[in-house]
Structure formats: C-alpha cells, structure tokens
C-alpha cells in the first residue's frame, strides 16, 4: 500500500479543540508541514496568541511561548534577539494583531525584525464569542455590531497586509485564503516563502490568511468557505503585497 498522506511530526497527536470547519486547523497543518520541509523543527520557536489559537502550544511540536493578547511580535523580538539562530514565528488572530496588538506588529515590521507572522483574518473575535474585529466586513453582523458593521460609526475594515507592506522593514507580505484546495496550496507556498525569508535573514515577513469561523459567522463549514470567496476575497484581494526576498 502506498502512503498518500501522513501527518507531519511537527504537529503533536493532541486532538485540536477547533470547531468543525475552522480555518485554524488547516493553517496549523500548513505551518507545521513547512517547518518539517524546511528542516527547522529543532530551532523553531512558536509564539501563540490570545484567541482561539491560544492552545497552539499543545499542537506545534516545537518550543512554544504563550504571549499576552497582541504582544506576540514584541515577545518574539525578545527571543529572536537573544538567539538569532532560532526561527521565530508568531501566530495571531485579527483581534490580537489588528486591534490590541496593532502597535506591536507595526513596529516589529518597522524594525525589520527577522521573524515571521502568520496572521489569521477571520473577520471576527472567535474566542470571545463573535464580537466585531477591525477586519469585520461592512454590514457584517457580529455580537457587538448586531445591525451590521456601520462604517460611519466604526470605520471600514483594516487591510493589514497592504498596511504592513508599506513599511520599509517588511521584506515579504502576502495575503492568501484557505477556502479551497488551490488556495490552500498557494497558502502553503506563501508560508514557506515567509519562513525562507527569515532563514535567509531578509527581514520581517507576514502572511495574512483569510480563514473561516463558521461558529461565529452562523454558517455551516461549507457555507463559511463559500463566504470567504464571495465576501472576503473581494474586499481583501489575494496576492503578494511586498517581496524583496530577491534583493
């Protein structure tokens, strides 16, 4: 019998707590596979966020640090500065990174910190029960925008990848989605490139991943994937926003 799929050893055997259809599980696997393929498991340090991925340290089979809400880029900076040979990545949600941690991510990029950030944009605060995030779409109903996000009242959603790409210290920035197989394959390639960017010492790298939260979107897993395509991608265009990895 030929093996067609094998779980990467960079994921532990612990059963994940994510809801059915949640994008976090997919992205965890992609990140772990990339770490395996690049042969960096023994020197990678994961910084997990406060958000649904808070238990990431149970899943990534590498040394892990649980950071305070939004502060992972600062904490990761501390570790990377101590051991520059470590491959240090942060894994952060959109409440974590784009709201409370906006300063930390901007300045990690601004310093050209040689770390990698995997940014999960699911347009919502998943863990706390579906409140509005800076990335929540206009008109999107959440528990704190029950009539739909009103841009007059709280602005229009923040495009993080584009914003970070404007910062000199950012070497590689791409937005991907995990709504369908072709996009998942592209997402993995982007994540791999982002880690390679760090290995090569080029500067800060960030991959924004449009991801599903069926539970708080009030959708089935299949509907949630469709909604990424129909509603998120038009506002958050996929693609490379910055690439100076060849410089």
């Amino acid at each position: 019998m030929t093996t067609v799929f094998k779980k990467t050893p960079v994921l532990t055997d612990t059963i994940m707590h994510y809801c059915p259809g949640c994008g976090h599980g997919i992205v965890h696997r992609l990140v772990a596979e990339v770490i395996e393929e690049l042969g960096i498991q023994d020197r990678t340090i994961a910084f997990v966020p406060v958000g649904c991925a808070v238990f990431g340290y149970k899943y990534f089979a590498v040394d892990c640090v649980e950071a305070a809400h939004g502060r992972a880029p600062a904490a990761a900076t501390g570790t990377k500065r101590v051991n520059p040979n470590n491959i240090v990545f942060t894994y952060q949600g959109d409440g974590d990174l784009a709201s409370i941690g906006a300063a930390e991510i901007v300045h990690a990029a601004h310093r050209g910190e040689k770390i990698t950030t995997i940014f999960i944009n699911n347009a919502i605060y998943g863990m706390t029960g579906g409140q509005m995030a800076p990335t929540t779409l206009v008109g999107q109903k959440t528990t704190t925008s029950p009539y739909g996000r009103d841009p007059e009242h709280c602005g229009k959603p923040l495009r993080v990848a584009e914003m970070i790409a404007t910062i000199e210290g950012a070497a590689y920035v791409e937005r991907v989605a995990v709504d369908c197989t072709p996009n998942i394959i592209k997402a993995k390639a982007a994540i791999k490139k982002a880690f390679q960017c760090q290995i090569d010492g080029k500067g800060f790298s960030l991959v924004e991943v449009l991801s599903s939260c069926p539970t708080n979107w009030g959708k089935s897993p299949a509907e949630a994937m469709d909604w990424i395509k129909s509603d998120m991608i038009p506002y958050y265009p996929l693609g490379v926003k910055k690439d100076r990895t060849n410089e």
Partner: protein, 353 residues
C-alpha cells in the same frame, strides 16, 4: 576597584551589565533616561543588545521573550511607564520567568511630576498587575546600595524564577555619588532547563505559558507561587537597623527618605531624644518580624513612618506592629521631599503630644 563619581542611573546600568545583564528593552521617560542611554552605548560593545521599544508595553513583552529564551534581561522606567508594564509583569510572574524591572519613581497620579516620589509602593509590593503574585522589591537608599543590590536582583530573579523590582525614588537616579563596583561571588544558580531554545528531542518541549484553563491546574501553579513567596519571606528579608537599641521613637522609612531620616535622628539626638530607624531594604518581603522585635523593646514608645506618599508603606508598618504601640505617619503624597528639620520637628512634637 577605585571609587568613581557616577550618576545613579548610570551606576545602576553599569551594575546590571556587571551582573551579567546583556539584554535591555526600554522606552524613554524622565527621570530614568540615563539608564537606556547608558545601555545603548555599552551593550553593542559587549555583545549585548539594547533595543528602544515602541512603548513600555512592548518593552516588557520583549523582556518576557528574552527571559523565556533564558537571557539575563532588564527594563527600566518611571511611574507612568511602569503602570503600562503591569500586564507584562503579571504574565512574567505567571510564566515564572526571571527578569529585573527598575522603577525610578516620580510624582503621580496621572502624569504627575518628574520629581521624586514614593507613590508606587502599593503597586510594587502588592503585585501591581492582575492576579495573586508578588515581586521581590529592593529599595536602595544610596547609589552604592543600588549598585550592590543589582547583583542580588538578578540572582534572586534566577533563583526564584520571579521578576525582581529595583524601586528607587528619582533622587537615587539623578544624584551623583562615589561608587565602587565590587567583585561579587558567582552564586550557583539553577540551570534554565525550561528556556525556549529550540526543541531537539533531548528534553521535554519547553512551553512558556501562564494559561492554566483547568481550575486544579491553576491552583497548582498558584500554590507553587505562594510556596515560593513564603520561602522568599523566610530567607530574603533585608533590613537596616540604625540606632534602634534603647530608642524611644522608631522611625520607619525606605529609600532616600531614610537617609534624610538619619539626619533628622541626629537633630533629635542633639536635643537629647533617642530615635532609631528601621529601613526596609526589601520592601517585599517586608521586614515584619524585625520591625516587631524592635518595637517590642521596653524603651520604644511609638513609631513614625516617613514617606513621600499618603502613607503606603505605613499600612505594612501598621500590620506588622498590629496595635502593639502607637504609630504615626509623616509625609505628603506627590513629590514633596521633607527636610531633616521638618522630620525632626515632627518627631519631637509627636513625642510631646
């Protein structure tokens, strides 16, 4: 080594480096800017790292990350900035990481003043951030003592896996005094087997974390912390007793104020009144037993706490003395530093009352 005239902040920074600190993350705020400035000049020369963070919030989280990686790391700030660090300090306490935080206290609340103050005693000794934790808090009363305590600070942090705070009033930071950098004995310290350095399979994975979602697991962590605090209280109290034997009045003060109290004691002595001083060097753990023993002397009639605050340490003094003898407080909140004459007058007046 010969004595050198140095500004407090610079001496503290140099002492930290000599104690093995190689990582410093901070954000400018008066009156402690000479610490980051000194670090920024020295660290690159000795293979260390000084990084100016985008905020005190970021700085303390960089400390968290560097401590997680096993480094000797410190940050410094002054009152408003230390308030911003409290979330991070709580996480560091919860994750059981060693680090040193320096607070050059200035007047508050709010933006307050840039003059010296002792208004952050509660914040420093009662935890400061959320949750049931303590820092070891060292309160120098001279530049020399600050220098000497810096070695203790890093060792204590490593031994007890806890953040240690050097709590000084702005006077200590800004004053110039002759200092000597002594050779310190290299203590045998526990290996940092818990540090995140990359998992090669030869040890369990290192996970630096303060999340314990199950009630019993969180309880276990808290029990571990409390046991450690108890041990610290038993073993690490530092206190100076000055002319306490046979004294009629005991003054309790820390930091620069304690030095002014010594001058006040001389003034009282000239008037024939015997006054002694109990000066906590560790304000957490607070020298409860030591103060109680001094107060129990038959000669002692009363206690007077002197602080640049509304009477913050005075609460710990009262808890320690627990009604055994009358207590009194002299001082003002904000930034007013009392003179020796004012303190002496107050001592003599209350004594007669």
């Amino acid at each position: 080594m010969a004595k050198k005239l140095m500004k407090g902040c610079e001496a503290i920074a140099e002492a930290a480096i000599q104690a093995g600190c190689r990582f410093f993350f901070g954000y400018p705020i008066t009156p402690q800017n000479d610490i980051p400035e000194y670090m920024s000049a020295r660290m690159p020369k000795i293979g260390g790292c000084f990084l100016q963070a985008e905020s005190e919030v970021a700085a303390i989280n960089m400390v968290y990350g560097a401590a997680a990686a096993g480094a000797r790391v410190m940050t410094s700030s002054s009152s408003p900035g230390v308030s911003l660090k409290q979330e991070g300090i709580s996480y560091i306490a919860g994750a059981e990481l060693p680090c040193v935080v320096c607070n050059m206290m200035r007047g508050g609340p709010g933006l307050g003043s840039i003059q010296p103050s002792q208004g952050d005693y509660f914040q420093a000794t009662k935890g400061g951030g959320h949750g049931d934790y303590h820092l070891i808090v060292l309160a120098p009363s001279s530049v020399q003592e600050a220098v000497d305590l810096m070695h203790n600070a890093f060792d204590l942090a490593d031994i007890y896996r806890t953040p240690v705070m050097l709590l000084a009033d702005g006077i200590i930071g800004q004053m110039m005094e002759p200092v000597e950098f002594h050779e310190h004995e290299q203590k045998e310290l526990p290996a940092k087997t818990w540090a995140v350095t990359g998992w090669k399979g030869d040890r369990p994975r290192s996970i630096v974390n303060s999340l314990y979602i199950e009630v019993d697991e969180l309880q276990e962590m808290n029990d571990r912390l409390q046991a450690r605090y108890k041990e610290i209280q038993e073993k690490e109290v530092m206190v100076e007793q000055y002319k306490t034997e046979g004294a009629e009045v005991i003054v309790c003060a820390y930091g620069t104020v304690a030095r002014i109290c010594k001058s006040a004691i001389a003034l009282c002595e000239a008037k024939g009144v015997k006054v002694g001083l109990v000066r906590p060097i560790t304000i957490w753990p607070f020298p409860e037993k030591e103060l109680r023993a001094v107060m129990a002397q038959p000669s002692v009639k009363r206690e007077i706490t002197v602080e640049i605050s509304a009477g913050q340490m005075h609460e710990d003094v009262r808890l320690a003395i627990n009604g055994m003898k009358p207590v009194d407080f002299y001082g003002k909140p904000g930034s007013y530093t009392p003179t020796a004459e004012e303190i002496a007058d107050y001592i003599l007046k209350t004594r007669e009352a």
